[in-house]
Every structure is written in structure tokens, then in C-alpha cells.
Symmetry: C2
Subunit: 125 residues, 2 copies
């Protein structure tokens, strides 16, 4: 990961419509959603949606595959992870307490799919 790629990825999701698309696809998982379905769900004209998906795809954050007449878009979770790693590089210089808040980002991978809430953390102790 270099700065140019990171900027392209950040720019891609730094916009209302595209961020909504990205988050919708994050929730949809690897199975993805058809371009038209996304456009309908987010109440956006097809051509505008196409442009938004193109930006996300060029950034490498989503991938497209054809299925019949539809084009299915899904998040590239590895690309997404690379971006987050880039942003947090050398984030605490060995002082874990500084960036401890970041630990919860990955908590979904250890808690059966949900991010850990403060309440649940408290309950567990």
C-alpha cells in the first residue's frame, strides 16, 4: 500500500453516495448486490450509481462480476483491510495504551460477527 492508492480509496468513500454504497456492500458480504438493486435501495439514478460504483471499483474497494444481465458488486475485504492497516501504521510506537481504542475494530472477528459494545464488555468484565 502506498499513499496514492490510499488516497484513491479514501476519496472513493469520502462522499455521501459512495459511502452509502460501500457500507451497503460491506453488510451484503461476499455475495454482493446487483448494480440495479443498489441503485433502487439507495434511490439513485442508474447512471449516477454506475459512476459511483466505477469510482469504488477503480479504487480497488469493490469488484464486479457479471451474472446474466446483472453486474454484481461486492467489497474486496482484503483491500479494505490494507487501507485500515495503512492508516494505523506505527500508530503507537510500542505504547499499546495509545491506540487501544483501535482494538475494537477487529473485535467482530472474535465475537461472532458483532462489534463489541461497551455494555457487553462491561457485562463480561
Amino acid at each position: 500500500m502506498n499513499s496514492d492508492v490510499a488516497i484513491r480509496r479514501l476519496s472513493a468513500i469520502a462522499q455521501e453516495g459512495r459511502l452509502a454504497v460501500f457500507r451497503l456492500l460491506v453488510k451484503a458480504g461476499p455475495q454482493g448486490l446487483a448494480a440495479g438493486d443498489i441503485a433502487r435501495k439507495l434511490d439513485t439514478p442508474a447512471n449516477t450509481m454506475s459512476a459511483q460504483l466505477l469510482v469504488l471499483a477503480n479504487a480497488g474497494l469493490v469488484r464486479a462480476r457479471r451474472e446474466g444481465r446483472s453486474i454484481i458488486y461486492c467489497v474486496d475485504f482484503e483491500a479494505m483491510g490494507d487501507l485500515l492497516v495503512f492508516l494505523t501504521e506505527d500508530c503507537c510506537g510500542g505504547r499499546a495504551e495509545i491506540c487501544a481504542p483501535l482494538a475494537k475494530v477487529a473485535s467482530c472477528c472474535n465475537t461472532g460477527g458483532k462489534h463489541e459494545t461497551p455494555a457487553r464488555s462491561r457485562r463480561r468484565g
Copy 2:
């Protein structure tokens, strides 16, 4: 965290100069750096740097404090963490293997780093 805040934060770091500033400050840690030092390190005019820092500060990603004639900027690590959590919300729908790559984001927080004093850090440079 809502979309508006997330977009503001993403836009703030989705630009070459500001991303460089942000990453420099991430590495600098809570101790931060003076505006002038940042400008010199990144070879940027003072007024340009001031504008870039203002955007980052307005986004809540960095905070400023005065120390003598200098204004010291440092990353708000909690704000940064909130943003990453927002982006990964519901990221794997219970299937940990999907977002497993994200686990390494927080890996720095599990390395048992030692605590560094500001004085020692200063001595080193």
C-alpha cells in the same frame, strides 16, 4: 458516529498533503508536533499547512494546544478509532473468516509495548 462526520473525516485524510500530516502525527503519538515543525518536515508553506491542519482539526481527527509561541497538533486516537469502527460496522455478518484480514489492524495493541516518557522521546529526537 454518523455518515456526515465519517465523510468529513475521510475527506480530511483523502488528500495528499493532509494524509501526510495525519500519518506524521500518528507516528508522533500523543505528544504531537508544532505546526511549524510539520510544515518544515513536509516542505510546505506555513499558510498552506495551517489550512491543512484546520481541515483535520475541524474533522476532529487532530487537536491543537498552544505551547509558548507554537501550536502543537496531535491525533485524537479515539476519533480515529471511531471512524475505523464505523467503516467496518456489520462487516462480516457472523462469518469471521470474511473480515479476518482486519484483525491485523489492531495487532499493534497486543504487542506489549513499553511505556515511553516524553522526556526520553525528546532526547532521542
